[in-house]
Point group: C2
Chain length 348, copies 2
DNA sequence: TTTAGCACTTAGCAAGTAAGAGTGCTAAAA
DNA sequence: TTTTAGCACTCTTACTTGCTAAGTGCTAAA
């Protein structure tokens, strides 16, 4: 258990270190602390912090640097209640603008603005209807033996893809298949639909179509688009400008990770609605790639319309109060604006 | 004007340098050249090359390194007729596979495979109908006051986007507007449509709709999707693994460039159908960002169906014969496969 | 015109030095 | 018992020095 003074010292070390990036020595801390103590006293306290594993030295006579656990302790116990500067608040209002036409626009703009403000990388996920259901699938002929397949969900999501009909197609058979899908699958939750598509549906379709693959491919394709969680990413390349940016190979691996579908397993905040989750270093992912980064994630709830996610990936040595404050501000802002949007279009 | 021997020396310097990345000295060259000459002779010749600006030294007693102009001369005059190893040819056939379902799939796979084979960054653009025309726009109601706008071009391209109708909408007026668009704009080339959309169309639409913005936004949006050239990019992050990869800020700027719409102005090979264009260093872009890179671009023509582009961005010190050979191979392969595809679907 | 030979230049490396920052520890002061 | 001053110690950083290896330019002879 740390004493009050030890906590103050740890806090000062973290603040200084995140501000300057340099190891911080006892003399500097003595001058920064509110009470009047000598640097020797600080040094004595620091060996305690070091034994507790909260700070480390880069070499035997350097200043102290917070360890991962030190940052953890700081985030868990020493963080000021999150506030946000007037300047940041104004910037958010200013950049987000008053109007937006589509949900995607608002949510992707948010990722962009959040990354600009932090100069880190930001992720946003629009609210997902928890139990989104298939509400219809249809084919629209476009002439020239091309057809557009359209999938609609009950939350209003629409995905479509065009394809070319085989030459020997029987268009009545096609319509029968579409009817089949609507009869059997509408009203089911999307994961359930995906399951059925792998199981009994292909067999049933063969009653009408000799070669069902092409058709089912199209259906599976739009289904996947609709079911897949896709993050908007802002400031993707800001990672390159950071300190830790070491060798190119590692950065290459990180970007390949961020581009992959593993992203959604990494950005997975606690279901708690109010909390903001801070993952530090190895807590983010199993591999060592992101060891020098921290990930701040939060969910935002849009009434009954579902939950979205917002996240920032930055260096472990980041100014947590500001970053957390920004995430919190965006979370509220998104929730508020989206509630308005949904009310406006669906309810009144 | 260079003598035969000077050209051989320059060629040897470029080959060695692209293979090892190290400055190359007179002794090594003497041992590599076909004729029997001493290193002193090579040295004498090298001062000629240096005066001509084709090679430089890193310091007064280092070996020679080809300059940008040296590479230029090499590419223009000293390149072997492009060939491709059996191994590479087999790899292409193997990875591209025998079948493909969609043009996008073939073309984007090509970018991926080309980048894997070179370990550089590859770009592909699918064949663009030169004078693509609008062949139809329509609205499909999806229920729940949502509508899908669908745009089709004469080459079979389809773009769509869903939107929500304002509450006070008059659906007949909407249909009238759609009729208006089809009457006035179908058959026009896409750039012309874009132009009309900025000029007289908005005025005409106000005859039916009080607030035409929402509708015109949707139409403009899908139009832009259809008209915009979008490159497939493979191995985007391979740039990070290269030698020149210096500071993070510069890489960040490069990636932002590649993500922007300026990309299509950079990758703009000569209209010559047969040629492969090699741009070296500052020839690529006006700013200094890509000074240490070379860009190899080529067009491929798919009969009357249009022209596509294929390109590779790698270090200036790259093995040009192999890279050019690969670009050439892919260009032929894409042309061949796409001609088959189009014939199969549209003609027979 | 080519070559051998040699003096010269430079990068890279290892070792050494000095300055500066910061520590741990001890003994005195509070 | 806690805090502080003082000091020896450690380690980084920047600079210098000396050495080697690679490669050059130049000269004079072949």
């Amino acid at each position: 258990m740390l004493t009050k003074r030890q906590e103050q010292i740890l806090q000062a070390i973290v603040r200084q270190y995140t501000a300057t990036g340099q190891p911080v020595g006892s003399k500097l801390i003595a001058s920064v602390l509110p009470m009047k103590v000598s640097s020797a006293t600080i040094r004595n306290e620091m060996v305690v912090l070091e034994h507790a594993g909260l700070v480390t030295k880069e070499h035997s006579s350097s200043g102290r640097v917070p360890s991962k656990q030190g940052f953890r302790y700081y985030v868990d116990h020493l963080l000021d209640p999150t506030t946000i500067t007037k300047h940041d608040a104004a910037a958010i209002q200013n950049f987000l603008g008053a109007e937006f036409a589509k949900i995607d626009e608002l949510v992707s703009d948010s990722a962009q603005i959040l990354s600009d403000l932090t100069s880190y990388t930001a992720f946003t996920l629009k609210p997902e209807q928890q139990n989104e259901k298939l509400s219809g699938f249809r084919l629209v002929p476009l002439g020239n033996s091309r057809v557009l397949g359209i999938l609609v969900t009950d939350s209003g999501k629409v995905e479509s893809q065009s394809f070319t009909l085989p030459k020997d197609v029987d268009s009545e058979a096609f319509e029968a298949v579409v009817r089949l899908i609507n009869d059997q699958l509408v009203g089911l939750e999307l994961p359930e639909v995906v399951k059925r598509l792998r199981e009994d549906i292909p067999y049933q379709v063969t009653q009408y179509l000799a070669k069902p693959e092409g058709f089912l491919d199209v259906f599976g394709n739009v289904l996947e688009k609709a079911a897949g969680e896709r993050f908007f990413v802002g400031g993707r390349f800001n990672l390159l400008g950071m300190e830790q940016h070491k060798d190119g190979k590692a950065m290459q691996a990180i970007y390949e990770l961020l581009d992959s579908d593993r992203l959604s397993t990494i950005i997975d905040p606690a279901p708690d609605n109010e909390g903001i989750t801070v993952k530090i270093g190895s807590e983010i992912a199993k591999n060592k790639l992101l060891d020098d980064y921290s990930l701040i994630t939060a969910r935002y709830r849009v009434d009954q319309y579902g939950e979205g996610i917002i996240a920032v990936l930055g260096p472990t040595a980041m100014p947590y109060p500001r970053t957390i404050g920004l995430v919190d501000a965006f979370r509220r802002e998104l929730a508020k604006r989206l509630v308005n949007y949904y009310h406006h279009y669906y309810d009144s």
